[in-house]
């Protein structure tokens, strides 16, 4: 009798355990791919990719080779990206997103479009856009590349210490990417660190295979950029607008200083569909470009597209108070800018927690302390909107960037587990010099 009871108990435990287990199936492909201009190495939890444009290959050719490599290392890549699009865009929105893409496409650098077209030529979707068919069409791939511009999904945070507050005296940047990763871990499955190698320049991006813009990236001139969403509730319009992640890539590819890159992005001629923030950093400091395209201000002032520094005056009621440190959640803070912070609890909670953790770290902050601040979760990562956790259930990766060595401490969401781990594991990543 006792044995039977024990067996039943164990069986229940087993069922419960399997029910609670959030493991996802990972279809393994080849661990390495090498072709002219393209190298892909499976590093276990992410792919290390080098796209060598210095070989003389055209962007289209590189794109094609990249897609071929992607399919080798991730055989179900198309299904992953296609289902991710389907998950994020209900069928009644799906067709209209292509109108937005169509509006933005003419303003996108031709080379980038060629890369997408090159990749699409390898994928099986052709020209037919069918939602959820597990195939990637050319338009769908472009849509995936313009996701932050046409279907806002990004929510992030960033904190940086430099000067007297940095233990090393150098700038240190910690950046969280809070995106929805998909019900089948679609994004963690394709996470990558990509090196775009040109004859005179190298640009490094931390993003996703097949995504050619910059979500987080830096160049060999030690200019760092990362995007953060900042909504103002404005009515969406894509007419004549550009893609800001692709423009950041262009900025990193062409600019050598933080200010030049920021100037490039705040150019009045360049209009973007969504208001956003871009964290720019270099070896000395970090600044936040509050790129408020619509330009509605508060308190009778109007600030448009300005850089915020650690000692900038902020909107009424918003406190920072840290010299040689800067932080950002998803809100405009500059005095006179649109206040989408005060009434947004998600922003105010994370902002408060960021400040408290920074204060707790003391006057000087080490790399480990910065890592602890960026991964603050109040005990366990909560949901993005409510918890106020900097490291939360939506955090897909955390990058701690050290310009001094051009190296990163990198946490990527585990590929094979749906749930965000309680304690993120960082690994040192040295980008190819």
């Amino acid at each position: 009798m006792k044995k039977t009871l024990l067996m039943v108990f164990l069986a229940i435990l087993l069922i419960l355990q399997s029910a609670c287990n959030s493991d996802v199936v990972v279809i393994k492909g080849e661990s390495n791919y090498k072709a002219d201009g393209v190298t892909i190495v499976d590093k276990g939890n992410y792919f290390e990719v080098v796209l060598d444009f210095s070989t003389g290959l055209s962007h289209r050719q590189i794109g094609k080779a990249l897609a071929e490599g992607i399919l080798k290392v991730i055989p179900d890549y198309e299904a992953l990206v296609d289902s991710y699009i389907a998950e994020n865009l209900p069928k009644y929105e799906y067709p209209y997103m292509f109108y937005r893409v169509e509006d933005i496409k003419p303003q996108v650098n031709k080379e980038y479009i060629e890369e997408v077209e090159g990749m699409a030529s390898v994928f099986s979707g052709g020209k037919d856009n069918v939602r959820g068919d597990n195939k990637i069409s050319e338009d769908e791939l472009l849509l995936f590349n313009l996701f932050p511009d046409v279907a806002r999904i990004a929510q992030c945070s960033i904190v940086s210490v430099f000067g007297s507050r940095s233990e090393t005296g150098e700038n240190m940047v910690a950046r969280n990417l809070d995106w929805y990763g998909g019900s089948k871990n679609q994004l963690p499955r394709i996470q990558s660190v990509v090196t775009l190698k040109y004859s005179d320049k190298k640009v490094y991006t931390i993003g996703y295979l097949g995504y050619m813009g910059v979500i987080t990236g830096f160049n060999d001139s030690k200019v760092f950029a990362a995007i953060l969403d900042s909504g103002t509730g404005e009515v969406y319009s894509s007419t004549g607008k550009r893609s800001y992640p692709l423009d950041i890539r262009a900025a990193l590819e062409s600019k050598k200083t933080l200010d030049e890159a920021a100037e490039y992005m705040k150019d009045p001629q360049k209009n973007y569909a969504y208001n956003h923030l871009i964290a720019f950093a270099d070896a000395k400091e970090t600044k936040i470009l509050e790129n408020n395209i619509s330009g509605n201000g508060s308190d009778g002032n109007r600030i448009k597209r300005e850089l915020r520094t650690s000692d900038s005056k902020l909107n009424k009621g918003i406190e920072w108070g840290f010299k040689d440190a800067i932080g950002s959640v998803n809100s405009f803070l500059l005095y006179g800018n649109y206040d989408n912070h005060t009434d947004n609890k998600n922003n105010t909670k994370r902002w408060k927690n960021m400040g408290e953790q920074l204060a707790k770290a003391g006057d000087t902050v080490s790399l480990e302390e910065l890592e602890a601040i960026a991964t603050y979760d109040g005990g366990s990562p909560g949901s993005f909107l409510d918890s106020g956790d900097l490291y939360n259930k939506m955090t897909l990766y955390t990058v701690i960037w050290e310009p001094k060595t051009l190296s990163m401490e990198l946490y990527f969401h585990p590929r094979g587990v749906l749930e965000v781990p309680k304690d993120p594991t960082f690994e040192k990543v040295h980008v190819p010099q």
Binding site: E87, P90, G382, F384
Partner: protein
């Protein structure tokens, strides 16, 4: 549209309600097992109710299951878990639990009804659901507007996203809940009105005569007729009020999720309006109280009109003056009602203006006051305000009716309390009453007056009284009571029959001290101002068919009136014939003591002789104690004893 705060609130409220519903469910189950509730399928109607309710529950379940997809534009539960609001999942689970438990409770209590059940809990929950349904309608209209305006390229978004399902759900929830609530409340209010009427009737019937006769008839009419009817209007007020309040609360919560300060500001303005209404109510209540007093006067006039129509018809001057009086009272009723209503006109219009003012302030100043007030939020605010406008006005205009209702309710309670205060709670032992009532032919009864005295206590300072009286009335005796007007004959008769309670001395029946009920149950009476009921109350008419026919013939009214199933075929008879009919009733009641007050006064000489020479002796011979108040000195010799009353005392 659903944030974490709202989700948490939903979670807490539904969780709590779930526990309360569970309690009531257990109560219902226990009652079923105790057979206090019995199954009532209700045929096709019951089947339709079951199908309809299952359809609604299925609809709610479907909408809840697809809530992220429909309300959050194609989101999934996994997205909600990761992104938030985190409590939404728990809130939905808790709502589902509440829904399931409440549905089981609803089905069980519907198909296992309980007699005189007053399911207030169910009514409250359904009213809340109705209010929520009402609110869902406006929220979804807002959401649909937002989607239509922000996705200008997709004209079908509100259909393709299935948002219309929530709109339909809101309508279904509101309609069905309101329908059930109204039906239940109609039953409950009807029962409350019935209970109150029965309570008043019971109280009146238990009251001793000497106290009751001090009450104005019009007061009784108003308490039994007008006031319960006014109170019955409570149904619509409660349903409208409760649904409206719940709708307003949910609308305010919704506004709070859009902008907290805007919500607080709106609530303050509405509270101010309600405050002003309440202030006006205090003055208006005085007018309604006065109005209610005049209603009693009006009822008195009606009684006068009905009873004195003959006199009014004959005398033109009397008619004119009575008409003037009645017109005056009608006018007073009109004026006090108008004055009461006028008190609300000003504040009513002011309330409406205030409400529009809130909308105006929101539209013109919110974008200035709240720097981050988005255009869509302002639009949502305006739509909700406009939607709530009707509800707020509805709520405001309930207040005057509620005051009238309160006045009526107070009057009912006051009447019951007045009657209760004079209620004679010390009744004799039932067996004694039964023993006396059962005293038939041959059983002796003796009623002894020992130093009995009684004094009228009226406001006019009339201090007339009778006594001390010492006398004994016995079976087998005919006693005549005579005397001039105001000598105390009728007062003595009322003391005898237990209508009045002696102030001094005691009355004994067969040696035992008798109270009023005991005395009353010994007598059958025909007073000079007697009243004939349409039915033979208190008479076992089925066993007395032969006697009925015998007496109808004896009293020579067999061709004028018939008695079928204990009911007279007509009462439209001459005064003399009606008195004969009253005598017949008295015969049938067959009590040990018979009292006739000036019975023969309206009879022709032949019947007068028959009364004194045949009927009374026959009753005496049957062992009855016969007491007759009379002025017929020609027949005084027919009495065994004769009491002459003078100045409240027995003078012979």
């Amino acid at each position: 549209m659903v944030n974490s705060g709202l989700s948490f609130a939903i979670m807490c409220i539904t969780g709590l309600m779930c526990l309360v519903t569970l309690y009531y469910l257990v109560v219902v189950v226990v009652e079923i097992f105790k057979k206090q509730r019995k199954f009532k399928g209700d045929g096709i109607k019951g089947f339709a109710t079951l199908i309809l309710s299952m359809g609604l529950i299925g609809g709610i379940g479907y909408c809840l299951y697809y809530a992220p997809d429909i309300l959050f534009l194609g989101s999934t539960w996994h997205m909600i878990e990761v992104i938030g609001p985190a409590d939404l999942i728990t809130a939905v689970i808790s709502s589902c639990a509440l829904l399931s438990v409440f549905y089981v409770y609803f089905v069980l209590s519907h198909f296992f009804p309980k007699e005189n059940d007053k399911p207030f809990f169910m009514i409250i929950v359904l009213s809340i659901l109705s209010g929520i349904g009402n609110s869902i309608i406006v929220f979804i209209i807002n959401e649909a507007l937002n989607r239509a305006l922000s996705n200008n390229s997709d004209r079908y978004i509100n259909f393709e996203s299935r948002l219309y399902l929530y709109f339909l759900l809101g309508i279904a929830l509101f309609t069905l809940s309101a329908m059930i609530v109204r039906k239940r409340l109609i039953a409950i209010t009807a029962a409350v009105v019935y209970d109150k009427r029965v309570e008043i009737i019971n109280k009146i019937l238990k009251a001793p005569y000497f106290k009751y006769e001090a009450l104005e008839d019009s007061k009784t009419y108003s308490a039994l007729n007008n006031d319960p009817e006014t109170v019955s209007g409570f149904v619509s007020m409660l349903v409208t009020g409760l649904t409206g309040i719940i709708t307003m609360i949910t609308c305010f919560i919704y506004l709070g999720t859009l902008n907290l300060y805007g919500m607080i500001f709106s609530i303050l303005v509405i509270l101010l309006t309600v405050g002003m209404f309440m202030k006006a109510t205090k003055t208006a209540e005085k007018h309604f109280e006065r109005n209610r007093d005049i209603l009693e006067l009006f009822f008195k006039n009606i009684t006068d009109l009905v009873n004195g129509f003959k006199e009014l018809h004959i005398n033109a001057r009397k008619r004119e003056e009575f008409k003037e009086d009645m017109e005056k009272n009608c006018g007073l009723y009109r004026d006090t009602r108008m004055q009461g209503e006028y008190k609300y006109v000003g504040v009513g219009i002011f309330g409406e203006i205030m409400y529009f003012l809130v909308i105006g302030i929101a539209v013109f100043t919110f974008p200035i006051i709240f720097s981050n007030f988005e255009g869509s939020t302002l639009r949502n605010y305006t739509v909700v305000f406009l939607y709530m406008g009707g509800i707020v006005n509805q709520q405001i205009h309930i207040i005057p009716n509620l005051v009238r209702l309160t006045v009526s309710w107070k009057r009912i309670k006051q009447f019951i309390s007045e009657i209760s205060m004079i209620e004679d709670g010390h009744g004799p032992a039932t067996d004694v009453i039964e023993e006396i009532a059962a005293a038939k032919d041959g059983q002796e009864i003796a009623i002894q007056f020992k130093d009995v005295g009684f004094h009228y206590k009226n406001k006019d300072g009339d201090n007339f009284g009778i006594g001390p009286i010492n006398y004994e009335f016995k079976s087998g005796e005919i006693v005549f009571i005579s005397g001039g007007n105001g000598s105390g004959k009728s007062t003595l008769a009322k003391l005898l029959t237990g209508l009045y309670k002696p102030d001094e001395g005691e009355i004994r029946i067969n040696g035992q001290v008798a109270d009023m009920k005991m005395l009353g149950s010994s007598f059958t009476t025909v007073y000079s101002n007697f009243y004939l009921f349409e039915k033979l109350y208190g008479v076992n008419h089925k066993d007395k068919q032969n006697e009925i026919q015998k007496y109808l013939k004896l009293l020579q009214i067999e061709d004028k009136v018939q008695i079928t199933d204990g009911k007279f075929s007509t009462l439209k008879l001459s005064t003399g014939q009606r008195k004969r009919l009253a005598l017949l009733v008295s015969y049938l009641e067959d009590k040990p003591v018979c009292l006739f007050d000036e019975w023969a006064a309206d009879q022709d000489p032949e019947f007068r002789r028959f009364f004194y020479e045949s009927l009374l002796p026959e009753l005496r011979n049957r062992g009855k104690a016969v007491i007759a108040i009379t002025h017929d000195d020609y027949y005084f010799n027919r009495a065994d004893k004769h009491i002459k009353m003078d100045m409240g005392k027995i003078s012979n």
